[in-house]
């Protein structure tokens, strides 16, 4: 193994390079990225970067003291994989040859075609998206956010902090019911009202009015929400189309075994674009969390270089900072039959709850309860770690 190509120069690609070096790989690593930027951290884009507390230098992921010796090919989307040769074709027609390929092409924001073509309409995924949105969040502007997931809520929170009038529209009856269940999704949604943001849930946006620029969002129930800025936060789609001509199995993401190995020798996939076989069910499961993108590269690097891995993945963990509140979750809520308030006060929006299945704790949700959450998360890991 002399030459490894990583396709995708975001956090997952960079962490894959770091993990390869940490595992002793001294050969050539080529990091291909469609954006022109060196790897940067995305979570602050909807928060500290959007409100101007952080600048670009604050979100750069590379450390000037680390010497990863990477061969960057930035601003060059990959357009094809020549599977038998482990070679990657780039948009400029060049070919990156190697002995192995790690696909970490991530995901992109889904859009609403009905709102296309109007000025003031944004999605938020990349640094360039964040720069454009930041310029548009003027205090005199009225913002409508479609989608009350974590990104939508964080953007609403940031915009409200900047002084904008904000409406949030959520098609589902309760925001965040998927990750947190409807009861606690509904409780977290109170953060919007507490901050003076109007939440319209259980109703779809019907039409987008504009005169070149977005002027209003009309909901299916007839409500008309004036808007100068519209943010569409309706989830993400994996960047896998460039592999469609290859033999790699693609469902909701690139399907791999439990260690990121695709069906092709020497080709791995990791991060938001990948659907690893879930260790519990064996079924492909695509996970979009930041912690997944920083932990799994170690598994891939070990598997790729040594054919085995010593790493035991920790339970899924994600967080969201909105309206000055830390929301943290670890584990799973799948098939939970009980939610127990362990600490704090649910009505005061400061609490710790556990999700249980047949009495066993499978998930932990903390709202402004960082210390207690750490303990529970740790206990959860101890249970899940095989002896």
């Amino acid at each position: 193994m002399h030459d490894i190509t990583i396709v995708g120069a975001s956090i997952c690609g960079l962490y894959t390079a770091r993990a390869l070096r940490a595992e002793g790989f001294a050969g050539r690593i080529t990091l291909v990225g469609d954006e022109v930027h060196r790897p940067y951290d995305r979570p602050p884009l909807s928060k500290e970067f959007l409100v101007g507390t952080y600048e670009i230098a604050d979100i750069q992921l590379e450390d000037e003291d680390e010497h990863l010796d990477l061969n960057y090919r930035l601003g060059q989307p990959a357009v094809g994989l020549r599977a038998r040769e482990q070679s990657v074709e780039l948009a400029d027609g060049s070919l990156v040859r190697g002995d192995a390929v790690v696909v970490a092409t991530g995901a992109r924001a889904r859009t609403l075609p009905a709102a296309h073509g109007l000025e003031g309409v944004h999605t938020l995924r990349s640094l360039d998206d964040a720069i454009a949105l930041r310029a548009d969040l003027q205090p005199s502007h009225r913002l409508v956010v479609v989608g009350a997931g974590f990104i939508g809520a964080e953007i609403a929170s940031s915009a409200r902090g900047l002084g904008l009038e904000v409406d949030v529209v959520e098609v589902a009856p309760t925001p965040l019911a998927g990750p947190l269940g409807s009861r606690f999704g509904g409780i977290l949604a109170r953060l919007h009202e507490r901050a003076g943001v109007r939440l319209h849930s259980g109703v779809a946006p019907a039409t987008f009015e504009g005169d070149g620029r977005i002027r209003a969002v009309v909901l299916a129930d007839g409500t008309r929400l004036p808007a100068d800025v519209l943010v569409v936060g309706v989830g993400a789609a994996p960047n896998v189309e460039w592999l469609s001509g290859s033999p790699v199995a693609i469902g909701n993401g690139i399907e791999t075994d439990q260690h990121g190995q695709t069906g092709l020798p020497g080709v791995f996939a990791v991060g938001d674009c990948a659907a690893w076989a879930d260790s519990a069910t064996g079924r492909p499961l695509r996970v979009e969390h930041w912690t997944n993108a920083v932990e799994r590269p170690t598994v891939v690097a070990q598997q790729l270089l040594h054919g085995r891995t010593s790493m035991v993945p920790r339970p899924t963990y994600f967080w969201s900072d909105q309206y000055g509140v830390h929301v943290q979750f670890a584990g799973s809520i799948v098939d939970h039959d009980e939610v127990v308030v362990e600490d704090g006060d649910v009505d005061a929006l400061r609490f710790l709850v556990t999700y249980r299945r047949a009495g066993e704790v499978i998930g932990v949700l903390g709202v402004d309860s960082v210390r207690q959450f750490t303990r529970r998360r740790r206990a959860l890991s101890a249970i899940r770690t095989p002896a």
């Binding site: 500290e48 992921l61 309206y323 000055g324 830390h326 960082v370």
Partner: protein, 118 residues
Amino acid sequence: MLNVCPLSELPPGEALRVPCSPPIAVFRTEEGEVLAIDDTCTHQDASLADGWLEGCQVECPLHASRFDLRTGAVDAPPAKRPVRTHRVEVVDGMIQVELSLDTPNLPPGLAAGSGANA
């Protein structure tokens, strides 16, 4: 020297946040060693006293950066800059800390004393 608390009030495996400016975190490892570092993660505003203590390392409770409690060095990113360490003495059963005179590595947004953003 800053009087923190009696040693008996900080059991092994526990941490205490001392609300000075900037705040510091005092840890008592499972092995019984008492160590002090700056409490604020150098990556983003989080209290390391709320973090996950493992041996002589603490993991930030928010984003899993790890710091060596003896040296303040970053053992795992995303943090890039070390935390300051402070000299600890236990005198007559009282934990005392001598604050470092180095410039602290506070996260962006806190460095100018602007406080946490919403």
